[in-house]
């Protein structure tokens, strides 16, 4: 979440293997660029014994053929091990999470033996130190799931399920973003991964699995009357739409609109009235016909339930 170079600041074993590889390649890049730059400067300037030495066919054979062949072979062998490491499946104790790319947010489903244990959106909690298996899917267009501090990216392709294995070895909030251009508000499709100790994670999961409580709130009536339930699910109520994100525990999320804005009551009110201002082109209509007070009531209701 800071201004660092996320891909080189790993927080887990997969990302660490990739960061090591990246550093080796960066060193290779500067070393070879330096060699070629030096050779070019020597050859382009007049005179000198070095220039006479370079101006021969051997440099083409040794510099152009042999040198790249050796470098490429070395890198390839090393990279095979890295590929193995970042794609290998863990033995056991895996947290299984299905993430569906949607235009332009993330549907997150925690899986257990029976199927979907509970659903949330745009914020993924994982326990520190345990392997997580992400089942990546899409029902509209192609998206790509990437959390740089945790590992490589993987596409979400309609008609397929791709598996990505990640693990966080330290606590923290790690930003991710859709990296396959998915039209419209592709730029505004981010997510956050919250890595926390097992106990905290268990508590969070237990809370998420609970249905929402009270419907004896004016906000609920407005929510229901405005047809919000056609698209959104609030578990424990009649609202069971599947088009937009599950809002059951919206207040527990750090951000709104797929990590575009911090989740504050004020931002939530703005989003309800003019969602398209925060994320142009999304499918949620404006609710200008609702008064400020009505919007505040809905926001208040959504903000109450944990």
């Amino acid at each position: 979440m800071n201004g660092g170079v996320a891909a080189l600041d790993p927080a887990g074993p997969q990302a660490a293997a990739l960061a090591d590889l990246s550093w080796i390649l960066i060193v290779m890049f500067f070393a070879v660029t330096g060699v070629v730059l030096l050779a070019t400067v020597i050859s382009a300037l007049p005179g000198g014994r070095a220039k006479a030495l370079i101006g021969k066919r051997w440099i083409v054979v040794w510099g152009g053929l042999a040198f790249p062949a050796v470098v490429v072979t070395g890198l390839l062998i090393y990279s095979l091990a890295v590929t193995e490491k970042v794609t290998a499946g863990p033995a056991s104790g895996v947290v299984r999470i299905r993430v569906a790319g949607e235009m332009w947010w993330w549907r997150v489903q925690y899986l257990d033996e029976q199927g979907v244990a509970f659903e949330t959106a745009n914020q993924i909690h994982i326990p520190v130190g345990r392997p997580v298996s992400f089942e990546l899917v899409s029902t509209d267009v192609i998206h790509s799931f990437w959390v740089p501090q945790l590992g490589g990216k993987m596409d979400m392709i309609p008609g397929r399920t791709n598996t990505l294995r990640l693990q966080a070895d330290e606590q923290g909030v790690f930003r991710g973003q859709c990296t396959e251009y998915c039209g419209g508000a592709h730029a505004l499709m981010a997510l956050e991964v919250v890595a926390q100790p097992q106990a905290e994670f268990d508590a969070w999961a237990a809370a998420q699995a609970q249905p929402a409580a009270a419907t004896d709130h004016p906000g609920w009536a407005l929510f229901a009357d405005s047809g919000c339930g056609a698209c959104h699910t609030v578990r424990g109520t009649d609202a069971n739409g599947r088009i937009g994100p599950d809002l059951t525990h919206l207040v527990s999320r750090r951000t709104l609109a797929a990590a575009v804005q911090p989740n504050t009551p004020e931002a939530l009110r703005r989003f309800i009235r003019h969602a398209g201002d925060m994320k142009p082109g999304l499918r949620m209509p404006d609710y200008e016909r609702l008064s400020e007070a009505d919007v505040a009531a809905i926001a208040d209701w959504l903000g109450r339930r944990q």
Partner: protein, 842 residues
């Protein structure tokens, strides 16, 4: 030297001749190759004009797409900037990529081929001048219409590789995506036409004695370029056809809900897309391999290694497409194979880079603007090549794929490997075309601004990418540390813009087209394009004995100018050039060439009208335009293979060659073969699509069908092949029987098609049902087009017969038709065996 064609090499010793040439000879040459005046510029077919139009149009699109880039960089200068809205930005980045790749890069190098090859090979023109003109006008008209879509908000917004399902009718309902398919359709046509031209030109119209070992590197590069177009473009042609069929008619090739697969598009697109990078890079590398020896005043070090490395690059480039798909969830075996293949490209690239460096070191560099751009290219391209090795490593690609790191990588490669060499080429070859060279003083500024601008723009993007910034985002948050880097990139982009602006000013100040009386060989190049020349190319066509004739063959320029070599005037009173053998370039015959005319221009206008009408859904104008386009092509073709005034011609020093040829000696045969290879590649891509979908969704493919109709169709097509081959064989005895056999062959092809179509329809196969049915109809449609073409060809043969133009001495018309018939029938048979037989027989 052993002769390739039986031509006696001792005859070369007759040159240079010593007798005076008749004074009227040069005047006649000038008259025959005269410049177009006024409106006649539309009719021009000479490579000097078409090449210049082409490069001008390509440069125009470069500037336009560059302006789009500046708009994008302005938007990204600050986080959460409101300069452009989301939809506009998405259209602009799509257009920037599409226009740069399709309307600038490929046409620009093709333009240079058309402009420079005849001069380098000392041919009077390329072998199919009207085809070049058609390719240009189709490209220019179609490309302009496509570009204008941005002004009315109808530009595509799916990204330049247009991945479905985003670009399917469901997610891109407007005609914006169709504009993309239209724009690309034109460039497909013109690229293929250019490739035919260039393959045949390089193989068949070289100066006598210019064996492959003496072929200039640029010509080698253009040969590989053309081969890659022939092998690579068919994939995008098929992909665009399938996507348009899915969008317009609902045939589900890519829709996973009906058995299609979005990844099929990616395979087809990148099977074209990656070779496309080398289609762009190799000619530019070829230019560097011409310019660097000139600025260092010494032959290229490692000439053969460089040629070999270009051939190897071309080959490897066909085996790396999957590295664009590393993050689609491929098995490790595929990752490792394509990783290896991708990294191997470093070796031939390294050979070229070190050959350039060694050449600079072997000579003494005379600093000039071309030299600056050449050295700038080496550095920039090397850096892009190294990040290319990095992204070729699958696990590193998992990190940087679709981030700004990749944006940095391919801009380094394309700018270092194509744009900077192109500017080197502009400065280097302008004196060949213009009465004045470009300004060296301003040239330093142009280079300084562009070179520094490129690095200031794109180097920071490596870091922005590693920080997590994805490509194709219209904005980004301010709290991630991406803002300073983005602002730096924006500043760099405007420096590039300033450099290009100064260049344009200089071109307007200095460039004055002058085929004769040009500024001359100011950089001291050693190859034939620096011979004194006019619109007719060189006064006489020299015998080439070395790779750098101007450095190593004494007095060659003077002797050429005085007409002391081959073809010092016009032997037949028409436009003509010497056609030579492919390996040793021995004179074979004299090709008579068409002069200016309207047919190819009319064909281009109506082709454009046809596609444009379809795109904006004006169907009746489209149909009329399509019919007129076909009529124009018939008009054009009718003027081919006309009566020969003289059977043989004296091409100088008493050496006589035929003035007509058929079979593998002739340029027409070669052109038809290249065209057939293109058709076969498109068909092969369709077969690939079929097998690919079968491998993903085998349950859709019936295995219990009745194969009798298939065998009937195969047999009918077999008969068609026999009839087609016999038509050519019988022509020498009786042109009338040949025409009748051609009609019979076409009828058999049509009958086989009819059987298959009826079988599919009666079995209830409907193309919208699922991917299998759609593929069956794709096979039918493709073969249906061939049925229409062979029917027209059969009618054409009859018309020629009726007009008395089908005569024994001139078999080219029937020969071309017979080749096409045989191919169409073979394709029909294989199509049946694959579409109908494969699932049942495997």
């Amino acid at each position: 030297v052993k002769s390739e064609t039986g031509f006696d090499h001792d005859l070369y010793h007759r040159f240079p001749t010593s007798e005076e040439r008749p004074p009227a000879e040069l005047e006649e040459l000038k008259r025959i190759w005269c410049a177009p005046r006024g409106i006649e510029f539309l009719k021009a077919v000479n490579n000097n004009y078409v090449g210049l139009y082409y490069i001008g149009a390509a440069f125009l699109f470069f500037v336009l797409a560059g302006v789009l880039a500046l708009l994008m960089r302005t938007q990204l200068a600050l986080p959460l900037n409101g300069f452009l809205d989301q939809e506009t930005y998405n259209q602009i980045f799509t257009m920037h990529g599409t226009v740069m790749m399709f309307l600038f890069a490929v046409p620009a190098v093709e333009a240079l081929g058309i402009l420079l090859l005849p001069q380098m090979l000392a041919a009077r023109d390329l072998p199919f001048p009207r085809l070049s003109a058609y390719a240009f006008w189709a490209y220019f008209l179609g490309g302009s219409a496509f570009f204008c879509s941005i002004f009315v908000g109808l530009a595509p917004s799916g990204g330049w590789f247009m991945y479905p399902p985003l670009t399917s009718a469901a997610h891109s309902p407007g005609i914006n995506a169709d504009f993309w398919l239209l724009g690309i359709g034109f460039i497909e046509i013109s690229a293929i036409a250019g490739a035919v031209e260039i393959v045949v030109g390089v193989m068949k119209t070289r100066a006598p004695g210019m064996g492959l070992d003496k072929l200039p590197i640029f010509a080698w590069a253009m040969l590989v370029f053309a081969a890659l177009i022939v092998l690579g473009f068919p994939a995008i042609i098929l992909a665009t056809l399938l996507l348009e069929l899915e969008r317009a008619l609902g045939w589900p090739f890519f829709d996973p809900l009906r058995g299609g697969d979005p990844l099929l598009w990616q395979h087809l697109f990148w099977f074209f897309g990656h070779p496309d990078v080398y289609i762009i890079f190799l000619p530019a590398a070829g230019m560097l391999s011409m310019i660097i020896p000139a600025v260092a005043q010494t032959p290229l070090v490692g000439h053969r290694l460089v040629v070999a490395s270009m051939l190897v690059t071309g080959f490897i480039s066909l085996w790396v497409w999957v590295h664009h798909m590393f993050t689609t969830g491929l098995p490790p075996l595929a990752l490792n194979f394509f990783s290896l293949a991708s990294m191997l490209v470093a070796i031939p690239a390294g050979v070229q880079v070190f050959a350039w460096i060694a050449t600079l070191a072997a000579g003494k560099v005379r600093w000039s603007t071309p030299a600056l751009f050449a050295v700038g290219s080496i550095i920039t391209f090397t850096m892009g090549g190294l990040t290319g090795v990095m992204v070729g490593i699958a696990p590193f690609d998992f990190v940087v794929h679709d981030t700004y790191f990749v944006v940095a990588h391919f801009h380094y490669v394309l700018i270092g490997g194509m744009v900077l060499p192109l500017f080197a080429g502009f400065y280097y070859w302008t004196p060949m075309l213009s009465s004045r060279a470009l300004s060296e003083r301003l040239g330093c500024w142009v280079f300084g601004l562009i070179f520094s601008g490129v690095h200031i723009t794109f180097f920071p993007m490596h870091i922005t990418g590693l920080m997590g910034m994805p490509r194709r985002v219209y904005t980004y948050p301010g709290d991630l540390g991406w803002d300073v880097l983005n602002l730096t990139s924006t500043i760099g982009a405007f420096l590039i813009g300033a450099g290009v602006l100064i260049f344009i000013v200089d071109v307007f100040r200095k460039f004055r087209f002058a085929a004769e009386g040009n500024a001359g060989n100011v950089f001291g190049g050693g190859t034939l394009e620096w011979l004194p020349s006019g619109l007719y190319s060189n006064r006489s066509i020299p015998v080439v004995q070395s790779r750098y004739p101007l450095w190593e063959q004494k007095k060659i320029a003077e002797d050429v100018e005085e007409g002391r070599y081959f073809l010092p005037g016009s032997a037949t009173g028409e436009r003509e050039t010497i056609v030579t053998s492919p390996v040793l370039a021995e004179p074979q015959y004299l090709q008579r060439m068409p002069g200016p005319g309207w047919p190819q221009f009319a064909a281009a206008v109506f082709t454009a009208g046809f596609f444009l009408g379809l795109t904006v859904q004006f169907y009746w104008p489209a149909v009329i335009s399509g019919i007129l386009a076909i009529a124009s092509v018939v008009w054009w073709v009718w003027e081919l293979d006309l009566p020969v005034k003289q059977k043989a011609a004296d091409v100088g020093a008493g050496i006589t060659v035929p003035a007509y040829a058929s079979g593998p000696r002739s340029h027409g045969w070669w052109g038809m073969i290249v065209l057939i290879v293109v058709m076969a590649m498109i068909f092969l891509m369709l077969v690939f699509s079929y097998v690919y979908i079968w491998s993903q969704r085998p349950h859709l493919f019936p295995t219990d069908g009745d194969l009798a109709p298939m065998w009937l169709g195969v047999a009918l097509n077999g008969v068609a092949v026999v009839l087609g081959v016999s038509a050519r064989k019988l022509h020498d005895a009786s042109p009338m029987s040949a025409a009748v056999l051609a009609v019979g062959s076409a009828a058999a092809i049509a009958a086989a098609f009819g059987v298959d179509a009826a079988t599919a329809w009666n079995a209830g196969v409907r193309p919208q049902t699922d991917a299998y049915a759609a593929l069956i109809f794709a096979f039918l449609s493709w073969q249906g087009v061939f049925v229409a073409v062979v029917m027209m060809m059969a009618l054409y043969a009859l018309a020629r017969l009726a007009a008395g133009l089908l005569v024994r001495e001139r078999p080219m018309t029937i020969e071309s038709i017979a080749l096409f018939l045989s191919y169409a029938a073979a394709q029909g048979a294989v199509g049946l065996l694959v579409a109908r037989g494969f699932p049942a027989l495997v």
